[in-house]
Symmetry: C2
Subunit: 152 residues, 2 copies
DNA sequence: ACAAAAATGTAGCACAGGCTAATATTGGCG
DNA sequence: CGCCAATATTAGCCTGTGCTACATTTTTGT
């Protein structure tokens, strides 16, 4: 069973946003804005867990972008309070960043497990969950969790 | 039963892209690049079906953006061969645009029906399918279709 | 017919997120 | 120790996608 508690904060805003038909596309745009942030903090968290520290090159490797792009993106993450960096030092997560990373990991994992439970192949589930995870509302997450449980 | 034939072209490229682990995030980025295009041609097609013609204001209303943003976006669509426009005239789809619109509609509809069949509420299914649709590979679409059929 | 309203177009701005090239720093190794 | 490779920074570029303010054109209603 997954803990979904950490996911609630941002997604509760989403509930409000989704309330009216007008906001359909606004929510999708808002999802996109947070998507890179979520993927980055998730990756940073995993790299730190794996390798001890996270350097810009690791992220460049992971996301297949130049290290310059990573630098600028990490700059935005710092500006927005998700990470702290000092020149030439490894990237670290703030407590806010850590919380977002955990919530994103849980949600990502749940979507992945759901796709697998549905019968999607491993490779496809891994790829599709990467894009889908950011667009799944809490209600749908709960339904996915229920489906996973029912398959056991 | 849905016809999925029209979807195959772009998504077959995706299969190749998804082949290696390296390309995970590249595919997600590529999905994002085509996402607005898909939503626009889909909307244009629907507005034409509903109202006879599609004007920039209709799209501005639909996507909740300014008409200037619509203008620039439609300009890119024209550049890329999906629509034709003349000053002060309604927007029309090229045959390529029409084909993409049909394929996107089918895929969107399938994802929506899948979420409903799963047990997600109408409002949430409508909102979530809007974001999810662009990140679902052909394999997952087939699995979703199978699930829908099995629920009948 | 013509004024007002609606629609469209244009200019100019901002920010996100890509890039290459050139420069600077750090850390490890011979 | 000093040099080299790895890493990070900076400068400067691009495209996409959003905006406001203002100008123009078309449509509509009396
Ligand atoms: Mn997306
Ligand atoms: Mn993720
Ligand atoms: Mn992702
Ligand atoms: Mn969509």
């Amino acid at each position: 069973m997954h803990k979904l508690s950490g996911i609630s904060t941002k997604l509760q805003q989403d509930i409000k946003l989704a309330a009216t038909k007008q906001n359909q596309h606004k929510r999708t745009r808002s999802d996109h804005a947070t998507e890179l942030t979520e993927d980055y903090v998730e990756a940073i968290s995993e790299i730190i867990a794996d390798a001890g520290v996270c350097r810009a090159v690791d992220l460049a490797q992971k996301f297949q972008v130049s290290h310059v792009t990573v630098n600028r993106t990490v700059g935005r993450l710092q500006r927005d309070g998700y990470v702290t960096t000092e020149p030439y030092a490894p990237i670290e997560l703030t407590s806010v960043g850590t919380r977002l990373a955990k919530a994103s990991q849980e949600r990502h994992q749940l979507v992945l497990e759901f796709l697998l439970a549905l019968g999607v192949s491993n490779a496809t589930a891994i790829t599709d969950s990467e894009g889908i995870e950011h667009h799944v509302s809490p209600e749908t997450l709960r339904v996915m969790q229920k489906f996973i449980d029912s398959q056991k």
